[in-house]
């Protein structure tokens, strides 16, 4: 085997070593969500399929796969089928730059964080194309809501990322994690950490900000017309995006693969395990929030994004850079 084809084979294997765990953890996350919600609401949750019901999500996927895929006759056929594919592709290609440990990453890009930001901002296309191509009232309203919502919260996410970047002095995700070896950014930048988690909820259309798929007013929002596996792809993408945003939170604020304190029993545990544990912590917060808070009204959502988060993050960017400049702590 020549060196080029060997390299390509290794690359493909590496990509699979990211994509397969992500898809499996999506299935486990759906199971976890139903279990956690069940526990919070004093129910049992799924408990029939497999031990403790752990195979429930796989059974659900099988059910979705065997259903008939309906195409509304008045829809734009190509875009209607293309939208769920695009959504899932975008939620998976973002993993190309996520560093799981100091060495384990598919592509250690210099501008990794910008790549992630760009890919996450494309995510809205899947939703808006789905809503428009369905040629139906509720999906269209859901798509419009979601476009406005995702753009609004991207602005504050951008400023939060800029604050972190000022402290790091690099756009490389590995550098961002390594600069948190001594102290995680969640501590000095605590308000930004909270804003980032809330904006991540809005960006992934999770409760309490799930207005694009608000079942009480919009049936199921942008995927009302979808059935079978094309619905399944949206579902997969939503949960893959949740895991992605949690990993991004861990990388930006919770010190990636580093243990909380660098002392003996903690620092022998491999970095990957720390990373996964932290991602689980953030995901649990996502589920906990879902079970606790009622849904926001649309104008409240917009007010929170534009009138509270935007000024706050803007001031914090100026404040952080002024602080670092005054005390001459700006990264070289």
């Amino acid at each position: 085997m020549s060196s080029l084809s060997l390299e390509i084979t290794l690359g493909v294997l590496k990509i699979f070593s990211f994509v397969v765990p992500v898809l499996v953890s999506v299935a486990l996350l759906v199971y976890l969500e139903r279990k956690v919600l069940g526990a919070i609401q004093l129910r049992k949750g799924p408990n029939v399929v497999g031990p403790f019901g752990i195979l429930q999500s796989f059974a659900d996927v099988l059910k979705l796969l065997t259903k008939e895929n309906l195409l509304p006759s008045s829809s734009n056929k190509f875009l209607f089928i293309f939208a769920p594919m695009l959504t899932l592709i975008l939620s998976l290609i973002a993993w190309a730059v996520i560093p799981i440990s100091s060495t384990y990453v598919i592509s250690n890009l210099n501008i990794g964080i910008l790549y992630l930001f760009a890919v996450s901002s494309f995510g809205v296309y899947g939703v808006i194309i789905a809503g428009w191509a369905s040629n139906s009232k509720y999906p269209f309203l859901g798509a419009l809501r979601s476009a406005a919502q995702m753009i609004s919260y991207e602005v504050s996410i951008g400023f939060v990322i800029i604050t972190v970047l000022i402290c790091v002095g690099s756009l490389n995700l590995t550098d961002i994690v390594e600069s948190q070896k001594n102290i995680w950014f969640a501590i000095p930048l605590f308000p930004m950490f909270i804003i980032f988690i809330i904006s991540a909820l809005a960006e992934t259309n999770r409760l309490p900000f799930d207005l694009p798929e608000d079942e009480a007013t919009l049936v199921a929002g942008f995927f009302t017309e979808y059935s079978s596996i094309s619905f399944g792809l949206f579902f997969l993408a939503e949960y893959a995006n949740m895991i992605l945003m949690s990993s991004l939170t861990v990388i930006l604020f919770l010190g990636g693969w580093y243990p909380p304190i660098d002392i003996f029993p903690l620092n022998v545990i491999p970095g990957i395990i720390w990373f996964v544990l932290k991602v689980f912590l953030i995901l649990f917060v996502f589920l906990w929030v879902r079970a606790t808070f009622p849904r926001y009204r649309y104008d409240q959502l917009m007010r929170l994004g534009w009138k509270i988060f935007l000024p706050l993050t803007l001031v914090w960017v100026v404040l952080t850079s002024a602080f670092l400049f005054y005390f001459e702590m700006l990264p070289k």
């Binding site: 501008i111 910008l114 790549y115 494309f122 808006i128 476009a147 991207e154 007010r303």
Partner: protein, 199 residues
């Protein structure tokens, strides 16, 4: 070989999508082809090693501007026929701009390309750093000026679209939160057969 091959691939896609932007029957399809055109120009930037500019182009134009276009175009009820009847009015202006841009391209290809090669971007520093070095020092005035232009555009848009209607009842959240029970609720002792007087 790889460089030249990918350049022609992306350049061909870019021109094809641009043609589709103009000739699509549906305005929404036009905007989606415009997104593809932006994406291909991002690839072209990355290909010459200007990855920062490329990704920023993607974030700003695909992630924000094109979505707003799409937003507007989807909500407008545009009839193809009315569009076509007006199209002749814009021909002189379009030709003028096309002429200017064509002259620029010809000038650049004839006079500049012989002196410098496409890989002028040095590899010693990454190009985020290179932009950062000159943006706030050498091009400080230009940077501030473009900021002012954007600010003007923003204020202009607000002035043009914002209509103050005093009859609209607005929600004042601070006022709502600051009220107490004593301001809103009153305990009244009602005598039998008399009712409450309205005040």
């Amino acid at each position: 070989m790889f460089f030249v091959g990918s350049f022609f691939l992306f350049a061909t896609f870019l021109i094809t999508t641009c043609i589709f932007v103009i000739f699509s029957k549906n305005p929404v399809n036009s905007v989606l082809f415009l997104v593809l055109a932006f994406l291909n120009s991002t690839f072209l930037f990355i290909l010459i090693g200007a990855e920062f500019v490329g990704i920023i182009l993607a974030i700003v134009y695909i992630g924000a501007v094109a979505i707003l276009f799409l937003f507007v175009v989807m909500m407008l009820d545009i009839k193809r026929t009315t569009l076509m009847s007006n199209i002749k009015r814009y021909v002189p202006v379009a030709l003028l701009f096309a002429g200017i841009i064509l002259t620029e391209i010809i000038y650049l290809t004839i006079y500049k390309s012989s002196k410098s090669n496409p890989s002028i971007i040095t590899r010693s520093k990454n190009n985020t750093e290179q932009i950062g070095d000159v943006l706030y020092t050498k091009y400080f005035i230009d940077f501030q000026l473009s900021g002012i232009v954007l600010l003007l555009a923003m204020i202009g848009a607000i002035v043009l679209t914002h209509v103050y209607r005093p009859t609209i009842r607005r929600q004042n959240i601070d006022k709502q939160n600051s009220t107490t029970a004593t301001e809103r609720v009153k305990l009244v002792k009602v005598n039998t057969g008399q009712g409450i007087e309205n005040d």
